[in-house]
């Protein structure tokens, strides 16, 4: 609000179109809010925030002052909308930190607690209309090997010669992975489980294709999105080889009582319709030193997280002592999410 007054006196210093648009927004808002106050008891602060927010810059290019203003605008708006004190953190990357994640595929029991914990922490849309989950757990079959299951006939049958690769019923064939498994109890005897989320690639294809650079990789290795700058073109969704990105098809449904008020600008703050979102390694937690929600919730301790630049961190110890692989390493995306086995 104090910014509004100063813009009136500084209109001869309009240096760019963006400034012009912002101050134009101010004038409109000033008159609008005045009118609104006369007409009804509506809160003018809300309208003001929305206009300024609409014409704000890309977060990364804001000055510290502008970032602070953007954050305050959001805090006011969110606190009002969700009826509680919402904080929006703007913590930048931590010095000397490169985040890494490791998941013990041998331990995972497929209980999907991580999926739901992520939703509880990160303010995703929920409900039947539009459900967003950043983690997907696949059920992988261990395969079937039985004498009766095999195809011993030749191909073509009358020639009686079995040609490689043409058996109708290959033994031990496995499914590609089930997304919608729902047994009474997990783990099942004949399956293992494979959770997937954003791999926080070092060379993220999603960042490369973004036409407006709204998604970018911070120095601590987290690929983030400025939700206010996203134009919703979904190129990143097409480019991501891990299917890690989700889109807010409609206005997200986030009940007030379930809303997590501790948020980060680039992380779990409430999103708007028409923008892309994804796992941020719980940036609002991890940049404050706290473990991610999925690491904490895993009831079997299959998830490990830490600083790749610290030789004594648990993630480095996993890399040093366990058998590690990365998903789709052939794509040279250099994920910072590792899978391992004991």
């Amino acid at each position: 609000m104090p910014k509004q007054d100063s813009s009136n006196t500084k209109d001869n210093k309009l240096s760019s179109r963006r400034d012009f648009l912002r101050s134009a927004g101010n004038y409109t808002v000033a008159s609008l809010s005045g009118a609104a106050m006369l007409l009804s008891d509506q809160k003018p602060a809300k309208a003001n925030v929305t206009w300024e927010e609409h014409f704000q810059k890309n977060y990364r290019l804001m000055t510290d002052e502008e970032k602070q203003q953007a954050i305050e605008r959001l805090e006011t708006r969110y606190s009002e909308e969700y009826g509680k004190q919402v904080t929006v953190d703007g913590s930048p990357s931590m010095e000397g930190v490169l985040f890494g994640y490791a998941l013990n595929i041998q331990k995972c029991i497929g209980c999907r607690r991580c999926v739901k914990a992520c939703v509880a922490e990160n303010n995703q849309s929920r409900g039947d209309e539009q459900q967003i989950e950043w983690i997907r757990v696949l059920r992988m079959e261990k395969g079937k090997f039985s004498e009766t299951d095999r195809d011993q006939h030749g191909y073509p049958e009358s020639f009686g010669v079995q040609v490689g690769g043409n058996a109708y019923k290959p033994a031990g064939v496995v499914l590609e992975g089930q997304h919608y498994y729902e047994p009474e109890q997990v783990p099942e005897k004949d399956a293992f489980y494979f959770p997937m989320q954003c791999m926080q690639c070092e060379k993220p294809p999603c960042v490369k294709v973004c036409p407006v650079r709204t998604t970018y990789r911070d120095p601590d290795g987290i690929v983030v999105i400025d939700y206010n700058w996203c134009i919703g073109c979904r190129m990143c969704i097409g480019a991501c080889p891990y299917w890690a990105r989700r889109f807010n098809w409609g206005e997200p449904n986030l009940p007030k009582e379930e809303m997590n008020p501790v948020t980060h600008y680039l992380g779990n703050r409430p999103r708007m319709k028409g923008v892309v979102e994804k796992c941020t390694f719980c940036v609002q937690r991890t940049r404050k030193g706290r473990w991610t929600a999925c690491v904490e919730v895993c009831p079997v301790g299959a998830r490990k997280f830490g600083n790749l630049l610290d030789p004594n961190s648990e993630i480095r110890k996993v890399l040093a002592k366990k058998k590690v692989f990365r998903l789709r390493a052939d794509l040279n995306t250099y994920p910072k999410f590792f899978y391992y086995m004991d």
């Binding site: 331990k107 607690r113 706290r290 009831p299 301790g301």
Partner: protein, 266 residues
């Protein structure tokens, strides 16, 4: 056997105490919602408000599992010493005491004091495993000791005369709160991995020097049956959280349950 019979009145007293204390706990359970952290039934926490804005835990409405900790260190105590100096020596390491979980009705204390003091019920002369004749209702997995596949028995782990304690190789007692000291006797490799933080689970602060709540062995594993038979997973089965919603326009997911080949089975 005769000695047992002589002291039945005392045993009856124990039972009475047990029955008396249970309903009290029961009403408390109803007042607050209770969820489990890792092992259903063996790691229970009650939901409560830390402050008007913050709850201690958020639970899954479908499975009753804890999903989220408002305060990861609530109800913890210092972990105590480990047998070697390492990184964690400089960090604040806490654990959630196991005793209140394992001894919810204070039976163990009573048992130790009342009967199993080494005299009243004597220490067995041989280590030959035998099946329990009594306490089948109160001893967890009384007839189902899978651990060690018959090569170990109760008193290899439990203290001979102090039922509230575990036992180490030298006969000294180990607190239920520090089962790692017991398990590490045999599972050295896992113990080392656990000490490094790459086996098991920790919550709290990931950063160097940050406070961490370490989870101890029995918070995740059932010590009487770790392998869980042919699943060999180390964990008891749980009800999974619900599957994601099907994509718009899909009515079922039958297609992903069909196998390759010309003859889809099942």
């Amino acid at each position: 056997m005769t000695r047992y019979r002589n002291h039945q009145p005392l045993f009856g007293f124990c039972l009475l105490l047990f029955l008396f204390t249970r309903p009290v706990l029961g009403t408390e359970n109803q007042a607050d919602k209770e969820c489990f952290e890792s092992r259903d039934g063996m790691s229970q926490v009650k939901v409560r408000q830390i402050n008007p804005e913050l709850v201690n835990i958020k639970c899954s409405s479908t499975t009753g599992g804890v999903l989220w900790w408002g305060d990861p260190f609530a109800g913890t105590i210092p972990m105590g010493d480990m047998d070697i100096e390492a990184d964690y020596s400089n960090e604040e390491a806490v654990v959630k005491p196991r005793e209140p979980q394992l001894d919810r009705n204070k039976m163990l204390t009573i048992c130790s004091m009342a009967c199993h003091d080494g005299n009243y019920v004597p220490i067995p002369h041989t280590k030959n495993p035998r099946s329990l004749k009594m306490h089948l209702d109160t001893v967890p997995d009384a007839m189902n000791l899978k651990h060690g596949k018959g090569n170990i028995w109760c008193l290899d782990c439990h203290h001979l005369v102090d039922r509230t304690k575990l036992i180490d190789n030298f006969g000294y007692s180990i607190s239920f709160n520090q089962p790692q000291k017991l398990c590490g006797k045999c599972h050295g490799q896992v113990y080392r991995a656990w000490r490094d933080g790459i086996h098991g689970k920790r919550i709290g602060m990931w950063d160097k020097g940050g406070k961490k709540r370490w989870w101890v062995c029995t918070e995740c594993h059932n010590p009487h049956d770790v392998e869980q038979e042919e699943r060999n997973s180390g964990f008891a089965q749980l009800r999974p959280e619900p599957a994601p919603n099907l994509p718009k326009g899909m009515v079922n997911a039958d297609h992903e349950r069909m196998h390759h080949g010309a003859h889809p089975d099942e």
